[in-house]
């Protein structure tokens, strides 16, 4: 093949690739997705940061938000991003290391909530790992990196930012170069490297120093660090506050610790101005100790599978159905819910509505199949807790949180909430003869995973609501109502206190 034909072919392929990337049609060049750990410091920016991450990272992204400050308001984010996991701030603990311990994917991104990403950001940062297997950590250009990767830019709008990144990608597609150190607000690395060198050294106080130290430790273990010339992320900078001087003084301790750790005494450090001394040859220095990644008692919020059903025929338009779905999802404050809708397609018109990757809509034909699916949903979707929700019942915004915590922290296998009006039957079965089968309102029930809760039938009296006849072996607890009512005789002996 002639040279000119070869270059035409390459150009054409590059054009096709660019088109696919621009249109978001390319999958990530990894099998198991990527875990993105977001450091949450700026409440005013965090929502948009997470929003852009979800929008521009493809389906196989796991988000873990870590509150970096005691005052950081996690609740609104947990409500707005139900698929993400959030780790609250705990004094004396560096939550980022805890979050990293939960990363289950081959690649991990550590990012500040001041970073705004654009389409294709993560794919472009993952390609260097494919290009060269010795690459273990990659950073994009940003205002927070050092040297030529440090780009101090302002864009008026997200559109202007995207146009710049697209232009930049077009010009420098595929380009990257090795770096001696990285210290910016966005870093992607392999989990394998993380497991070898551990987490970030929080005794260095200042984030850039912690990242630089981690990268130097990575280099000591033979990892290559690279900077992507093609990709830029927009890092917002907070305005200086009145207490900035006090913070600056605290940072000095971190600077001294960094200099001492790497034998750089008396060097000038001003990361904001791009001045960060590093050892000339890290390989000759004794390896610095790793930082353990430990899961603490305060684990990320466990996954709850919310099973939604409608006991009456749905007479909704697709728009109404979508609206009703959003309303139900939007109102719950619990931070980690997988939504599963179970419908009888003979009875309900089945308007299509969009669901997230982890959610599902199961359509079965006929009443028996529908009830059977409801009984066995826990076997289909693994999670720590299963909560049943009726589409026609009213729930307050903390309902799932409350009942999930009761299952999680109590000793009952199955918990019934009698707090709300939706529980039509009075708390009823207490004190009745144990010979009569216990029937519980399904829309008020949650249970542990790994069990089949019992038999689900229609309520005989009304014919509308569903009721559960629990397995006799299950321990049943109640929440809501008077405290004494929450101690129940265990049907197979003993009692459960909630």
């Amino acid at each position: 093949m002639s040279d000119s034909k070869h270059s035409v072919r390459n150009e054409r392929l590059a054009g096709r690739y660019s088109y696919l990337e621009r249109e978001g049609l390319l999958p990530l060049p990894v099998q198991d997705g990527i875990t993105v750990v977001v450091e949450l410091r700026y409440a005013a920016w965090a929502g948009e940061c997470l929003n852009l991450l979800q929008q521009h990272s493809g389906a196989s992204i796991s988000l873990i938000g870590v509150a970096m400050d005691t005052d950081f308001p996690l609740k609104p984010l947990a409500e707005a991003f139900p698929g993400a996991t959030f780790i609250p701030y705990e004094p004396g603990k560096y939550g980022v290391n805890e979050a990293l311990a939960y990363a289950g994917t081959s690649f991990v991104a550590l990012i500040e909530d001041s970073v705004m990403v654009t389409p294709g950001w993560v794919g472009n940062l993952l390609w260097p790992f494919v290009d060269d297997p010795s690459v273990q950590a990659v950073a994009p250009r940003s205002s927070t990196e050092l040297g030529e990767a440090r780009e101090q830019l302002h864009f008026g709008t997200e559109q202007e930012l995207s146009a710049y990144v697209t232009h930049s990608l077009g010009r420098r597609q595929g380009e990257w170069h090795e770096a001696a150190v990285l210290c910016g607000s966005c870093l992607v690395f392999t989990r394998e490297l993380l497991q070898r060198i551990g987490g970030f050294d929080s005794t260095l106080v200042k984030r850039q120093l912690m990242v630089a130290d981690w990268c130097l430790r990575a280099r000591q273990r033979g990892a290559r660090l690279v900077l992507s010339d093609a990709m830029y992320v927009h890092s917002l900078q907070p305005l200086p506050e009145a207490h900035a001087k006090a913070e600056h003084d605290a940072m000095q301790d971190g600077v001294q610790a960094y200099l001492a750790k790497w034998g750089l005494d008396h060097s000038a450090v001003n990361v904001e101005e791009g001045i960060l001394p590093i050892p000339s040859d890290v390989s000759v220095l004794p390896p610095r100790p790793g930082i353990a990644l430990e899961k603490t008692a305060a684990a990320p919020v466990p996954l709850v599978t919310a099973v939604v059903y409608s006991e009456r025929p749905l007479m909704l338009t697709p728009e109404e159905s979508c609206e009703s779905q959003k309303r139900l999802q939007g109102q719950q404050s619990y931070g980690n819910i997988r939504w599963v809708w179970i419908r009888d397609s003979r009875r309900d018109a089945l308007p299509e509505f969009p669901v997230r990757e982890q959610d599902a809509v199961i359509a079965v034909q006929g009443e028996d199949s529908w009830l059977h699916a409801l009984e066995n949903v826990a076997a289909l979707y693994g999670s720590e807790i299963v909560v049943y929700l009726s589409a026609s019942a009213d729930y307050d915004s903390h309902y799932v949180k409350r009942i999930a915590e009761a299952v999680l922290h109590g000793s009952a296998d199955l918990v019934v909430s009698r707090a709300a009006s939706a529980m039509e039957e009075p708390a009823p079965h207490q004190g009745l003869s144990p010979l009569l089968p216990l029937k519980l309102p399904l829309e008020r029930i949650a249970h542990r995973s790994g069990i089949v809760p019992g038999r689900i039938t229609r309520q005989k009296v009304s014919g509308h609501g569903l009721q559960l006849e629990p397995q006799p072996s299950l321990a049943i607890g109640y929440i809501g109502g008077p405290p004494e009512a929450n101690i129940l005789p265990r049907r197979s002996g003993g009692e459960v206190r909630l």
Partner: protein, 438 residues
């Protein structure tokens, strides 16, 4: 929050369009003047005619006003909040009149913004809530979402949105911190410029000014370098402009004896020497707050002087406060102060005030006032009391009362023609403003 825009130019030339996109809690935005349907669709702004303007319930609006000649309408509307966007005098306008009414507008505003750094510094010396609508910071410092559009904010845009929000949330955590932030950003900029332009006296002077506003002791070092550079460049007449500034810096540090000595070196005129003698007396008598306020005043830092004097109850404080109010065009406050300090029950010769109260002109003028030669009319800082009062009448739409006040002032000094000419010029400027494409 609803916003009403009172501009000095038609919509197509309105220079703050992007700031309108960034308005916090933006509900309805109205523009006084004509707009095409495309302009309305593109901006989400609704035009209002002059007739409709009169019917608006001002209380529900924050007014963004960028011409001093809207001041009468602003006062008539009694808006929730007034934001004055000050500009240097445009070509074709009378400079003196534009500056005077701009100063009066700024004095009535809840927040002042300006893209002119000269005006920004001037206003900082007059009052506390001033935003500089410009900057040299290269990064994005915030964001705001409006519908499906995400805007990134420059440093000053982030400060602007914060300052506006604090108008209706004055007790929010860190309230007022944006003032510090902007002074810090400007100080950092000029300090870095000093490194790049080490022989530039103006850059060092500006660095010293912002550091002084921050209360940073490094201000003295930059001022000293600026003073040296001025002398090196043979600008020998900088004792008043540069050396005197040391006295304000020392006063802020609490070194009042040194501050007085520094002021004395710069006191040349008879009035300045009298002031120096008075300062020395206050120093000897231990009247330190009075002294500090006076040092700030002679350095044109009226905001600091007012801040101190408003908390003082001694008899000497009141005339000084009055003088500072008048210098900084806070004329309503000046008249209010006079009214509160005048002898009660004096009926004869009272001057009716804009809000229906009366000003007792027979009250003994304060120490800082002089009597106009051959008259009983007190003059404060070169401004006659009836002129102040007449101007306020004019701004509140009481033309006849204004004329009576001006006649009183003119009767003494024979300046009727000047005052009425200014009145006519103002009316003409207002007419021109409202006639243009509106």
């Amino acid at each position: 929050m609803n916003y009403l825009i009172l501009s000095h130019v038609p919509w197509e030339d309105y220079p703050y369009k992007r700031l309108l996109d960034l308005l916090p809690e933006r509900a309805e935005v109205c523009f006084a003047g004509g707009m095409t349907s495309d302009q309305q669709a593109g901006s989400g702004v609704r035009p209002v005619s002059l007739a409709e303007l009169k019917t608006l319930d001002g209380k529900g609006y924050t007014i963004l006003v960028s011409s001093p000649y809207w001041l009468q309408d602003v006062l008539a509307l009694k808006p929730g909040y007034i934001v004055a966007l000050l500009e240097p005098c445009p070509e074709g306008e009378d400079n003196t009149m534009w500056d005077k009414y701009s100063a009066l507008l700024a004095a009535r505003a809840d927040l002042v913004g300006t893209a002119s750094e000269r005006l920004y510094l001037e206003q900082n010396l007059y009052r506390p809530k001033v935003v500089y609508l410009g900057g040299d910071h290269p990064l994005s410092c915030g964001l705001i979402r409006r519908g499906d559009r995400l805007f990134f904010l420059t440093d000053y845009e982030a400060i602007w949105t914060r300052a506006l929000t604090e108008l209706w949330q004055p007790a929010s955590p860190g309230a007022g911190g944006w003032l510090f932030t902007q002074h810090r950003l400007r100080a950092d900029f000029y300090v870095s410029m000093c490194g790049k332009l080490p022989a530039q006296p103006t850059v060092h002077y500006l660095a010293a000014t912002y550091l002084y506003l921050l209360g940073d002791e490094a201000a003295g070092r930059y001022l000293a370098r600026s003073f040296e550079l001025m002398l090196l460049h043979d600008y020998t007449d900088c004792l008043h402009s540069h050396y005197r500034f040391f006295s304000a810096i020392e006063a802020k540090k609490g070194n009042l004896e040194l501050a007085v000595a520094q002021y004395e070196i710069t006191a040349f005129t008879e009035e300045e020497r009298k002031t120096a003698v008075r300062m020395r007396q206050w120093l000897d008598n231990g009247q330190f707050e009075l002294l500090q306020a006076e040092i700030y005043r002679v350095n044109e830092d009226i905001a600091e002087a007012v801040r101190i004097l408003e908390d003082l109850s001694c008899p000497e404080a009141q005339p000084l406060l009055l003088q500072n109010y008048i210098t900084s065009f806070q004329w309503d406050k000046a008249l209010q102060l006079l009214r509160e300090s005048g002898p009660s029950g004096s009926e004869a010769g009272n001057i009716p005030l804009p809000d229906g109260a009366v000003l007792p002109i027979s009250a003994t003028p304060p120490a800082s006032a002089v009597l106009l030669a051959g008259t009983e009319i007190p003059v404060y800082g070169g401004i006659q009391l009836p002129v102040i009062e007449g101007t306020l009448h004019l701004l509140h739409g009481r033309r006849h009362a204004a004329i009576r006040s001006f006649l009183r002032a003119a009767g003494a000094g024979g300046e009727a023609r000047t005052l009425f000419a200014e009145m006519a010029d103002l009316e003409e400027a207002v007419g021109r403003l409202k006639g243009e494409d509106r």
